[in-house]
């Protein structure tokens, strides 16, 4: 079996779902002939035509609102944000309209909003964001953020088939760096289930997206240099959170580190820490720690970006402190 990249896995999911269901269609900026800014949708319009792969004007509110309307009528729109940063422009439509539609008015919104997220690419403040926390706070939206190629494909297929609106974050740093072998057949991964990325006894790292790879790197180093055995949990879905997996790892190792690339204050790590505190206090041998980005807008210069974003060495340092507590 051949390996494909994280990016190709996303493209495969789109192809297969559009083949499977005529109601699935894609819309976004420069996604048709050009194939998208990162070429995720390359070849899609040639195969399915520009009726089902629609180049839109630059109007995120318009795109998301139109997707919601089509979803009400039984279509399955998949929206591409050229960069996920611009989802902020559609924040009103997503949080006020889409997220509340089913609850308020029994209007289904089976749609996906996907796009490249995250830093480490010298993209500067508006091409590097991780805006998941703002949406996790909004009931009615599901949030998915895969770290592997297999999950990227399987979760996107599940997201497209989901009856609700799923925000699907893709990490642009992983697009072409991470490869995986796709299981044959109709490969889906359930939304809401975490994955144990590495099995350990001494402490847990709970994380997601690009940080999974840094956590695994840190775990290797901790094993070699400190003889520590680290459990790494890849959340995969951020809303709803997999409480079972969070509790299981906490009860197993009794020491937990939560890692994310997003800024610290109001980030999802705070929510996870609170849940552990509520449900697993008696199992803890140390305070739950966080490694996150600093609370600043993401700067552009490599020296600044590297400093602001969490690095493997930060995870190692925090894990050592946790183990020594």
């Amino acid at each position: 079996m051949t390996e494909i990249t994280y990016l190709e896995a996303i493209r495969e999911a789109l192809f297969e779902e559009m083949e499977r269901d005529d109601d699935v269609f894609c819309l976004g900026e420069d996604i048709a002939a050009y194939g998208g800014a990162f070429k995720v949708t390359e070849g899609l319009s040639q195969r399915f035509g520009e009726q089902r792969v629609i180049d839109t004007p630059i109007s995120e509110v318009g795109i998301v609102g139109a997707a919601a309307g089509a979803a009400h009528m039984g279509m399955r729109p998949v929206v591409e944000m050229q960069f996920i940063d611009f989802i902020a422009n559609a924040y009103d439509m997503l949080t006020n309209y889409v997220a509340t539609a089913r609850y308020r008015a029994n209007l289904p919104c089976p749609m996906v909003v996907r796009g490249p997220s995250g830093g480490y690419v010298r993209g500067g403040p508006f091409h590097s964001q991780n805006p998941e926390a703002g949406f996790i706070h909004t009931p009615g939206l599901k949030v998915v953020y895969p770290s592997t190629a297999e999950d990227a494909k399987g979760l996107l297929k599940s997201a497209i088939r989901d009856e609700d609106c799923v925000l699907f974050f893709e990490h642009k740093y992983l697009y072409r760096r991470i490869k995986g072998t796709m299981p044959t057949g109709d490969h889906t991964v359930p939304i809401g289930k975490a994955r144990l990325a590495r099995e350990g006894r001494d402490l847990s790292i709970i994380t997601y997206a690009a940080m999974v790879w840094k956590a695994l790197e840190a775990a290797d180093q901790l094993e070699k240099e400190d003889g520590l055995s680290v459990d790494v949990v890849d959340l995969r879905t951020l809303s709803p959170l997999d409480d079972e997996a969070i509790e299981a790892t906490t009860r197993k190792t009794n020491r937990v580190l939560v890692v994310h690339e997003d800024t610290r204050t109001g980030g999802i790590a705070g929510e996870i820490v609170a849940r552990i505190n509520e449900s697993c206090f008696a199992w803890l041998d140390a305070p739950v720690l966080r490694v996150t980005a600093h609370d600043v807008p993401l700067p552009y210069a490599p020296q600044l970006e590297d400093f602001v974003l969490p690095q493997t060495s930060d995870i190692v340092t925090a894990a050592r402190a946790l183990a020594a507590y």
Partner: protein
């Protein structure tokens, strides 16, 4: 304002005889040559940036305005020093006219510590209200409402100042564009909105952006005057913008100006333009290059000598060489500087938890004082502050 080009030598035509020449749009002979200087400076600076990009000295992407220099320069030239503009990525020329220097642009693209944003922001995303420009942010259209507010303040204070904001054909599709123009129109702000119609938004041709035949038609819907001009003719761009600026200064409110031009490079250097019909770029390059067109006019209609023109070229080359030298020798930013300047108050020290290389264990004394706070004894954060105050 930046130093203007000094008046050329004796006015002489190629036949060596002196002519009485008149210049359009009320421009003086010096100003006519100055327009050329700004266009040439824009182009040469971008050519230098391409060279630096190829040497991987530019951090991130490179966005060019090749073939669009005239519309940016001509329109910005219609402003006075006290006026304020907000450029787009392809309006480097307008920033130069308003006084941004090549060395600042080069440092910014190379993410140097002494760049105008100290390495925090990229390309021409920087501003200086004293010189009269406010840098854009990436989300398109956002600067239209911001400039509505800038010009609203001029009106409220009774200042005879004018604002100018650029939007691309693509950016006109955003909600922010619509809300900003409508707001400014209703408030009769002294604002000029320049739609730079260069045919493409990334890969999307204008016909997929709007069904309107031309952007000036949209002015009707907002109840404001609109005028279209050839954006590759620097004097035409100047003239049409000047009319709108004069209207704004006279208290007659918002106008929309559509400048017709063409984006000859891809969205950024990495874009291979496969979506552009064959021959289109060549046609514009050969028949409608704004710099070539203007040089021909300087020589013919305006009777400048070859020497006067090549003097400008030479001066621009020297300025860019010197600026590159300075910018390349600028230092990278200090990592800790990333943590200061989020708020005016309280300033500086951000809470830190683990910093690599700084702390490997956490003992109880540190915990007691709230471990995770950057030790006050480490002066780096305040050095960052000091550096900023020296700007």
């Amino acid at each position: 304002m930046a130093t203007r080009v000094p008046a050329g030598g004796k006015r002489a035509a190629r036949d060596g005889k002196r002519h009485e020449t008149t210049y359009p749009a009320g421009l003086t002979r010096e100003q006519v040559l100055e327009l050329y200087y700004w266009m040439r400076l824009t182009r040469t600076l971008e050519e230098r940036l391409v060279a630096l990009y190829r040497q991987t000295k530019v951090v991130g992407g490179l966005f060019r305005s090749l073939g669009q220099e005239a519309d940016a320069v001509g329109s910005a030239f219609a402003l006075r020093p006290e006026d304020v503009l907000s450029p787009l990525i392809r309006n480097l020329g307008s920033m130069l006219v308003k006084g941004a220097t090549p060395v600042e642009i080069l440092r910014q693209y190379m993410a140097k510590g002494d760049s105008p944003t100290r390495g925090r922001e990229l390309n021409i995303h920087f501003g200086d209200t004293a010189r009269g420009y406010i840098g854009q942010i990436s989300p398109l259209g956002d600067m239209v409402p911001v400039m509505a507010g800038v010009t609203l303040s001029f009106k409220m204070r009774g200042e005879k100042r004018v604002g100018l904001v650029y939007v691309g054909d693509g950016a006109t599709s955003t909600g922010a564009f619509h809300e900003g123009i409508n707001f400014a129109a209703v408030q009769r702000c002294p604002l000029v909105i320049v739609v730079e119609n260069n045919g493409y938004a990334y890969s999307t041709p204008t016909r997929k952006q709007t069904l309107a035949k031309q952007f000036v038609d949209k002015a009707i819907g907002y109840g404001i005057p609109g005028e279209q001009a050839d954006g590759n003719d620097v004097i035409a761009a100047y003239e049409v913008t000047k009319r709108a600026v004069d209207r704004a200064r006279a208290g007659e409110g918002v106008s929309l100006v559509e400048l017709m031009t063409y984006r000859r490079k891809g969205h950024a250097e990495h874009d291979n333009q496969s979506y552009v019909p064959a021959g289109e770029i060549d046609r514009w390059a050969k028949q409608n290059d704004p710099v070539d067109r203007y040089v021909a006019r300087l020589r013919g209609e305006f009777a400048f000598s070859d020497a006067e023109i090549s003097d400008v070229d030479e001066r621009v080359r020297r300025e860019i060489d010197d600026a590159t030298d300075v910018a390349e020798h600028s230092a990278a930013p200090e990592p800790l500087d990333a943590l200061v300047g989020i708020y005016a108050s309280p300033p500086a020290e951000q809470p830190l938890w683990f910093r690599r290389g700084k702390r490997t264990t956490v003992d109880s004394s540190e915990r007691a004082e709230g471990w995770g706070t950057f030790p006050a004894s480490n002066g780096a954060a305040s050095e960052g502050r000091a550096a900023r105050e020296n700007d």
